[in-house]
Structures are given as structure tokens and as C-alpha cells.
């Protein structure tokens, strides 16, 4: 479980996040949603430690991440897997080397065991027989799946995804969403996904935090999101014609 308490973050004079609290539970697919520029990626980067919050607390299973000493911080970070918006695969390494990388650097596992583990996770993300291909030789969707495989290969307890569907077609997006939900349930990890894709929200949102105007404006699940009564959220959810049609029908 990850607890975010009263998180505030500013860049120079501009406040991006103001007193945001949320609890992301284990085994659930948690979503942070909001319009572009609302600060959802900044929130994610604060949670994983890429940014330092101005104030607030971030607790990983009760362990204070912000004020942790270097050893504890490293220990927590090594329990984190993250899928970046563009995949962030290492260009100079092939698929197998990319996925094996966390095991090479963070563990003392024997080589054959590492390869077994790599092949297991690659099979799990349906990428068998791509081991020797370079990131530039595979599609965007495949790169995202390699990113997921790399994020979970070291038995991560926490999985973070920054806009996993950006640049993907709707069908591939749904496959990625389903894969994330399956992995979350199967490995009982705490998954936090940043997205502005309403398909993802409806498909996998078990706990959703909506951010707007620097604050948390709403929290709930995908069943409640249609009836939130929050104007900003309604504007976000029913921004496209299909959702408006769906609302009028229901």
C-alpha cells in the first residue's frame, strides 16, 4: 500500500500540487487522472522520488520515503518498477538485455536463473521470440510491453505507469490495460497508472483520483465516475462525443 499525505509541490512560483492525499491499495489498479498539465505526472514523479515534494508524506507500506536515509530509499526504490511514457528502453541493449538489466545490476542471481526469469516475464507479456531484437526494431506497443516486463522482472511490489497508452491505437491500448490489470491481480502488486484515457479509466480503474486546479477534486471507482457531481470531472469524462452519447442513453 502507498499512502500519499498532504503532498504539495511547486516549481518556482507555480504551485502544481496542493495538499493532495490518496491511498493506493495493494492488488488494485489505481489511477491518477486529469487533463493535460494538471500535474498528474508530477504527482507520480514525486511518489517515485524523481521530484522532491515541498511538503507532505509518502509512505510505502508505512515506510516514510521522503525522509528515509539513503539505504532505505534505495531499498524502497528497488521494490519499484516503472513503465515510462515512451518506454524508456535502453537503446544500446536488445529486448532481453533490457529486461535482464534490473537483475544484472540489482541482484546476484546466477545467469541461467536470470535468463529463466526474463523468458518467464517476456512470455507473460506475450513477447516470446523477441529476445534479440533491438528497441528500434519493435512497435510502440511491443516497447510498452518490454517496459512492463522490465518493471516486473525483479518481483516489484509497486508498479507505476506514466501514460502507458500514449501513442498507441485503441486495440493495443486495451491490451496494455488488460495486461496491467492482470499483472496487478496475479502478483498482488500496488499499481498506479497516470492516464487521461477514458477507455483505461472505464477498463481498469479500481480506485481513481482526479486532479484539477492543483487539487484532488474527486476520488472513487469507475462505476461512480459518471455520477460524481463534480463539474470539472464531468467536463473531463464527457469531453468526447461518444461519452456524451453514452450519458444521454443511460
Amino acid at each position: 500500500m502507498i499512502e500519499v499525505k498532504n503532498l504539495t509541490k511547486s516549481f518556482e512560483d507555480k504551485t502544481v500540487l496542493n495538499d493532495i492525499s490518496a491511498t493506493f491499495e495493494q492488488g488494485k489498479t489505481n489511477l491518477i487522472i486529469g487533463a493535460s498539465g494538471s500535474g498528474k505526472s508530477v504527482m507520480l514523479k514525486n511518489i517515485v522520488g524523481l521530484f522532491k515534494p515541498d511538503s507532505g508524506e509518502i509512505l510505502y507500506n508505512g515506510r516514510d520515503f521522503i525522509n528515509a536515509n539513503r539505504d532505505l530509499k534505495t531499498e524502497i526504490r528497488r521494490e519499484i518498477g516503472m513503465l515510462f511514457q515512451g518506454g524508456a528502453l535502453f537503446d544500446s541493449m536488445n529486448v532481453e538485455q533490457n529486461v535482464k538489466f534490473p537483475l544484472d545490476v540489482l541482484t546476484t542471481m546466477p545467469e541461467d536463473e536470470k535468463l529463466d526469469r526474463v523468458n518467464t516475464v517476456l512470455k507473460r507479456v506475450k513477447l516470446e521470440n523477441t529476445n534479440k531484437r533491438m528497441p528500434s526494431e519493435i512497435s510502440g506497443g511491443m516497447q510498452k510491453r518490454v517496459g512492463i516486463a522490465r518493471a516486473i522482472v525483479n518481483s516489484s511490489k509497486y508498479l507505476f505507469c506514466d501514460e502507458p497508452n500514449s501513442g498507441l491505437d485503441p486495440q493495443t491500448s486495451i491490451k496494455i490495460d488488460q495486461l496491467l490489470a492482470e499483472i496487478t491481480d496475479e502478483y498482488q502488486i500496488t499499481t498506479v497508472v497516470v492516464t487521461h484515457d477514458m477507455n483505461s479509466v472505464m477498463e481498469i480503474g479500481e480506485y481513481i483520483v482526479f486532479i484539477g486546479n492543483t487539487k484532488k477534486l474527486w476520488e472513487g471507482n469507475s462505476d461512480d465516475i459518471m455520477h460524481s457531481g463534480v463539474q470539472e470531472l464531468d467536463d473531463f469524462v464527457f469531453a468526447n462525443k461518444m461519452m456524451r452519447k453514452f450519458r444521454s442513453l443511460s
Binding site: 524523481l50 524502497i76 526504490r77 528497488r78 535502453f90 540489482l106
Partner: protein
């Protein structure tokens, strides 16, 4: 001044929260090939021509019949060891390897590969930059030795192929009043220049912000700042070590 402070903090991060020794050995060997072996052809070509042209131009300027031809060999030798081999090669090295280091790290930054390392709990500065600096410190002095040798060989080719001086006179000049400290001085300079090029270029690349355009700008800035640092340190080292 703030950039200087950030650069010093950046260097400090090289030695904190490191990975295993074996990881660094593997990465450093890869970098040795990248920064050293892959630079041999360019350094060789430039050095041979540098030595050949220096010989021709020195001969062109020594028209006085009272000055023996062997002085050309002496001038080319000292010019090569003291300045051309360590300093001019450093500027070429900054253009080839420095821009590549900055471009590589800048691309890793904007494609979030550096963030990916940080999220895994890896000190990205230490992991990515330390092997590049160690490899450069190790390989650049070899490149300088190679450059010096080939430049002197380039001078010999001129003596052999033209009539500006005889090979015998050239060799006599090479052996006249040789001061061994010149070689020590060149090697000290090579270590300092190697460190400056690799660390400044890595610093510029590591803190790239933006997109592809900014990666290019970081590479250009890396070369410019490295060249200025090389020339400044060249002057300081000459003042400290040569002027008595």
C-alpha cells in the same frame, strides 16, 4: 557560477551509492573501446598530417643558412610533445568523443532512460558517467602517445619524400637536447585534458532539458566549454610546470 557549483556537486555524485566493482569494470572496458579504440583512426590521420605540415612550415620559416637543418627536427619534436600531441588532440577528442558523450547522455535524459535508472535505485551519475571518465583517463594518454609518435613519423615522411631536409638531419634534430620532462608534462596534460573533456561533456549531456534540438545544443556546448577549459588549463599547467 551556479553551473560551476552544479558541476562540482555532479562530480561528487560520482562516488556515492555506487554499484558493484564488477559492474564498473565491464562498463569501463566498453567505454575504453568506445572512447579509445574508436578514436585511433581519426587521431592517427590528424597526427601524421600535423607532424608533416609542422615540418614543412618550420622548414619554410628557417631560411637562415646559419641555422642547421637539424633544428627543424628539434622544433617539430618539442612542438609535438609539448603542444600538438596533448592539446590539439584534446580539441579533436572533445569534438569526437565529448560531443558523443553529451549527445548520448542528453538523449538518455530526454527519453527518460536516466529516470528509469534512478527509479530502479541506481545512481545514474555514477553508473553512466564514472566509467566514461575512468575510460578516458586511461585511454587518452595512450592516444596522446600515439599522436606524438605519429606526428614525429609524419615529419620523417616529409624528410624522406621531399627535399626540405634529409632524414639524417631530422633524426639528429630529434635527438638534440632532449628533455625527458617534456614527455612527463605531456602525460600530465593528457590526464587533465581527458578528465575535463569527459566530465564537462557528461555534465552538459546529463542536464539536458527539452527535446532533440536541446540535445544538439548540449553537444555543441560540451565541445565549446571543453575547448575553453582545455586552453585555460593548458596555460595554467604550462605556467605551473614549465616556467621556473
Amino acid at each position: 557560477m551556479s553551473n560551476l557549483g552544479r558541476y562540482i556537486l555532479f562530480l561528487g555524485k560520482l562516488f556515492t551509492n555506487r554499484e558493484t566493482f564488477g559492474t564498473y569494470v565491464r562498463l569501463t572496458l566498453d567505454e575504453c573501446i568506445y572512447v579509445g579504440i574508436n578514436s585511433i583512426v581519426l587521431v592517427s590521420i590528424v597526427s601524421i598530417f600535423m607532424g608533416a605540415v609542422s615540418t614543412l612550415q618550420t622548414a619554410y620559416n628557417l631560411l637562415n643558412p646559419l641555422i642547421p637543418d637539424s633544428v627543424i627536427g628539434l622544433v617539430v619534436r618539442d612542438l609535438t610533445i609539448l603542444e600538438l600531441a596533448p592539446t590539439i588532440t584534446a580539441i579533436i577528442f572533445a569534438g569526437k568523443v565529448g560531443s558523443s558523450i553529451a549527445g548520448n547522455l542528453g538523449t538518455m535524459r530526454i527519453t527518460e532512460q536516466i529516470d528509469a535508472l534512478e527509479v530502479m535505485g541506481i545512481n545514474s551519475v555514477s553508473y553512466l558517467v564514472l566509467p566514461k571518465i575512468v575510460a578516458t583517463l586511461f585511454m587518452y594518454p595512450f592516444l596522446v602517445i600515439l599522436a606524438g609518435s605519429l606526428a614525429i613519423a609524419g615529419g620523417y615522411l616529409v624528410a624522406e619524400l621531399t627535399e626540405v631536409l634529409s632524414p639524417a638531419n631530422y633524426f639528429t634534430g630529434l635527438k638534440t637536447e632532449f628533455n625527458e620532462f617534456s614527455v612527463t608534462f605531456a602525460l600530465i596534460k593528457s590526464v587533465v585534458f581527458g578528465f575535463l573533456v569527459s566530465s564537462i561533456s557528461a555534465f552538459m549531456g546529463y542536464y539536458t532539458k527539452g527535446g532533440a534540438l536541446e540535445v544538439g545544443q548540449s553537444s555543441t556546448r560540451a565541445v565549446t566549454v571543453s575547448c575553453i577549459a582545455i586552453l585555460l588549463s593548458d596555460f595554467v599547467l604550462a605556467q605551473l610546470l614549465l616556467v621556473r
